[in-house]
Subunit: 208 residues, 2 copies
DNA sequence: GTCTATAATTAGATAGAC
DNA sequence: GTCTATCTAATTATAGAC
């Protein structure tokens, strides 16, 4: 069954707006690297190869840039997950959980911005955090409860929230602080071998 | 056996310097809430109840404030862990690992700044990240390899780095984004019941 | 030791030329 | 659409009175 999430939250346009898309891409990179407050609109403009004054033609203000960037990264995630679910449809429940988790680990390894946006906005108590939860996290969380890891481990449903954040943190931290991981352990978390090792480790942890 | 880490990295002074300590405390709170780049020295001064100009009398610049804040939170962690190890000395290896993990989860639940400092500095590639790894993370990581979870699960030593970041992420994320967790799941990660649930969940995950 | 004042830089947003 | 120029406010660091 398809998820209740989809690409319908997408604000960005259909076709022909390459400039706007390049700005969103630049905003994702900058917000991911420095967080919302520490990112300047001038850096976003520089990454997009334009002047700062042009940003306000395409987006009314800095916060609108963040909403568009967040929409984009979660829309891409949802598209990926729907594809994975289709591929794994024929497997047993346990194998689907194991391979689904490994596939998500691999995706998050190349998209550390998802974790960084979550941590950056997750401790705020303002409109940005509320919107992030209601629009993007809630559908993902509800989906995990209905089809995900909880069934497999025979988990008490009251513990689903603990499983969600444990899985998200266990999966993503190593990729979000890859330079630190390299210096601390010698593991280069950007290399495919390390990614596969982490995917297998997390799958063994969650679905033994 | 005691760890190789201790309180010897402590830069802050011995006695009678209450003002300096209150500034460090304020810096921990501010850097934890907003990250290094997005924290203003004026906010730190305000939290400490002093004027901004006074900061440079006690610390030469903003970065020195961050080093002092980081020293402080890791020194406190190390003190706590040494105490826990002493308490658990008589237990079997497996029980010591289980209860040690639960005790660290409880500590991190009330000290989310450790995770936030790690994520905030962890993706930099500058002096701050290098110093954080060499001074504070490396001793903790080496200790975990020698006495920690790796032995218990019969883990391939090459996977120790994966276990370290998986454990750190699984443990800390829920507390670092507590407002998001509350809105998403209804779980108030600041309440003792939720903290104990998470501690037990993580212990079951890592030492089944 | 603590404060006030300020210098030099950078921030987000806006106005207007083309 | 895109750029240049600028406004107001906030930033870190410093100088100097007390």
């Amino acid at each position: 069954m398809s998820m209740s999430t989809g690409t319908k939250t997408q604000r960005k346009s259909h076709h022909g707006n390459a400039r706007k898309e390049s700005i969103v891409h630049a905003a994702v990179g900058a917000f991911s690297a420095h967080g919302y407050d520490a990112t300047s609109t001038r850096e976003i403009a520089k990454r997009a190869g334009i002047e700062q004054g042009l940003l306000t033609y395409h987006f009314p203000n800095k916060q609108a840039l963040w909403f568009a960037a967040t929409d984009h990264i979660f829309d891409q995630l949802n598209i990926h997950i729907e594809g994975v679910l289709t591929e794994l449809r024929e497997l047993t429940e346990k194998e689907r959980a194991r391979q689904g988790i490994q596939e998500v680990v691999r995706y998050l390894s190349t998209h550390p911005e998802l974790f960084r946006f979550l941590v950056d906005a997750g401790n705020r108590s303002d409109e940005m955090m509320h919107w992030l939860v209601d629009t993007h996290l809630k559908p993902r969380f509800d989906f995990m409860i209905n089809e995900g890891v909880v069934n497999i481990r025979g988990l008490n449903p009251a513990m689903a929230g603990h499983a969600f954040f444990a899985l998200a943190g266990a999966t993503s931290l190593i990729f979000a602080v890859a330079p630190t991981c390299k210096r601390l352990t010698g593991i280069d978390a950007t290399q495919q071998a390390a990614i596969d090792n982490h995917a297998e480790f997390i799958a063994n942890l969650m679905v033994p």
